[in-house]
Amino acid sequence: MRQSNIMPGFRPALGYTLLYLGLVVLIPLSTLVFKSFQLSWDDYVKVITHARVVAAFRVSFSTALGAAVIASFFGFIIAWVLVRYPFPGKKFIDALIDLPFALPTAVAGIVLATIYQPSGFVGKLVLELTGVQIAYKPLGIVVALIFISIPFVVRTVEPVLQEFDATMEEAASSLGATRLQVFVQVIFPNIFPALLTGFALAFARGVGEYGSVIFIAGNLPYVSEILPLMIITRLEQYDIPGATAIALTMLIISFLLLLTINLLQMWVRKRSGQL
């Protein structure tokens, strides 16, 4: 209560914040919970154990996981290069990293589909060289999600790398460590929590992503149909309880995963004395 004595505007600011938060976010979100109560437990189980829904869960979570892993790997390299090495055009590249944040997902969707379809610029090349088709397959979803995920990883790792105390590296060097030993034993353990955060953000975003995925996914039932699309399909069939059940389950799983990752991160931090 130290500041509240003289600062003006506490009541109106907090009051407005709570009211607006309630109206725009909390009340609408709560409908999801209340609506799902209208469904009996058996009906609920029937909806979410439907083979097509189960397949969609598998597709959504596995492609998001794969994309987050790949994006974490390349995102780390990009952040490293941007922080550590001087090269021409760095400012431009740095600004470009945020493109997936700024580019509307529908635009990303049709562009990626155009590039990676079997007759597309890259799709054709890859198909001819390796026989692998990217678009209209789960692989296409992974490609779209990598695009979406990259800035999450780069932008969480970059500041931590920037602020990393380089004298720690010099100290390790002066103690006889090779460059690889310095990286593995000193740099990476200090960056890892941030990388984990970036990974979690990318993963969470990937599971819920819709716009950039549906054009490239092909939306083949059981194969490349994602959860958000299942929700929309149910809605279009006026199966609102079904849509609600899938949405709630999806939210719960996402929150549980994020919780797990947060706990994991806390454990990593604690183990490395950063708490």
Binding site: S174, A177, Q181
Partner: protein, 347 residues
């Protein structure tokens, strides 16, 4: 191990950090690199360590040319100003790091490592902290852990960058003594960088004074204090009053009992304790007005005002033991006669 630096130069852009520096340090010394900010002392230390590369010149450690060797192969121990402890490792793991990264065939067994680490932690009197993380330690503790970590690899040379710079005044005093004793016990050639002349005088067996990328003087602390090689060193080490013969100080100086040379281009540096005061005013004595005085413990510092021929006043500082000042029985505003026992003359 002896250190031999020949003609070291280093530029950062157009800024010359070191200018043709040559230096020889015999084995077992505890050397202070002393100088003001930006004089190049830290750069010199980093070049000896191999953390920086000189633009020209050679670094010779124990008769071997190590100029082109990477820092990890030089066998030096470096203690960083802000310690650079590994935040994600315990105190024990920090100290063990240098042993664990050795190539397999040279690496001691885990049991030997553990024994050695605990011995070192005992040496710095912090074994009870072995499972803490650096963030949980005080500044003085981190400093000692950083030292233990550097010593673990049995370096031939120990290099310390502003080792006491980031510490509280009271902790600093203790650690200075402790470092001096530690050096006495281990007898490893050590160099530390400092901008604090008192610290250099107190800890080091030799002092190297640097200014603007050049070595101004080197020698034992008493050498440097009693026989400063030039005006910079004299001003930088200890307090000094400066009298310029060109500013018509020569008559006043003669009256104070100091033999004054003929060339008027010279400048006299007078230590405050080389100034004597008396209440007896005689015709032709150098005179000044006592403006104020302060208690510095055993010594009293006296501020005197000397009137210039043009009517303005300059401040002169004198120092004398407490007892002596009491016997003088002077008060603020009294005019006193001044005698100068000794001065260093520079151009």
């Amino acid at each position: 191990m002896s250190i031999l630096l020949t003609n070291i130069s280093k530029n950062f852009g157009r800024f010359a950090a070191l200018h043709n520096v040559s230096l020889e340090i015999p084995e077992g010394e505890l050397v202070a690199l002393l100088g003001p900010s930006g004089c190049g002392k830290t750069t010199l230390l980093r070049i000896i360590a191999g953390l920086d590369q000189p633009d020209s010149g050679r670094v010779n450690l124990n008769g071997e040319d190590k100029t082109d060797q990477h820092v990890s192969d030089r066998g030096i121990g470096f203690v960083f100003q802000h310690y650079a402890l590994f935040r994600h490792m315990t105190v024990f793991d920090n100290v063990a790091f240098g042993l664990r990264v050795k190539p397999k065939n040279l690496r001691p067994s885990e049991a030997d490592i553990s024994k050695k680490v605990h011995t070192l932690l005992d040496l710095v009197q912090l074994d009870w902290l072995h499972d803490r993380f650096p963030d949980q330690l005080s500044g003085g503790q981190r400093q000692r852990i950083a030292l233990a970590r550097a010593l673990a690899v049995e370096p031939n040379v120990l290099l310390l960058d502003e080792p006491f710079g980031a510490l509280d005044a009271s902790v600093r005093k203790d650690l200075r003594q402790w470092l001096r004793h530690l050096h006495h016990d281990l007898n490893v050639t050590s160099i530390f960088v400092t901008h604090d002349q008192e610290e250099a005088m107190e800890v080091a067996s030799r002092i190297v004074v640097l200014n603007q990328g050049n070595i101004e003087q080197q020698g034992s602390p008493s050498d440097i204090y009693d026989h400063p090689a030039n005006a910079f060193v004299s001003r930088f080490i200890g307090q000094t009053n400066i009298f310029d013969l060109q500013q018509e100080d020569s008559f006043w100086l003669k009256n104070s009992g100091l033999p004054v040379p003929q060339q008027t281009s010279k400048v006299a540096h007078v230590r405050p304790h080389d100034i004597e005061l008396s209440k007896i005013l005689t015709e032709g004595s150098a005179q000044a007005v006592l403006k104020d005085w302060q208690h510095l413990g055993a010594l009293i510092r006296i501020e005197l005002l000397k009137q210039e021929p043009n009517g303005s006043f300059t401040t002169i500082y004198a120092e004398m033991p407490n007892e002596q000042f009491k016997q003088l029985q002077v008060n603020n505003g009294d005019t006193v006669s001044v005698r100068i026992r000794n001065a260093h003359w520079f151009h």
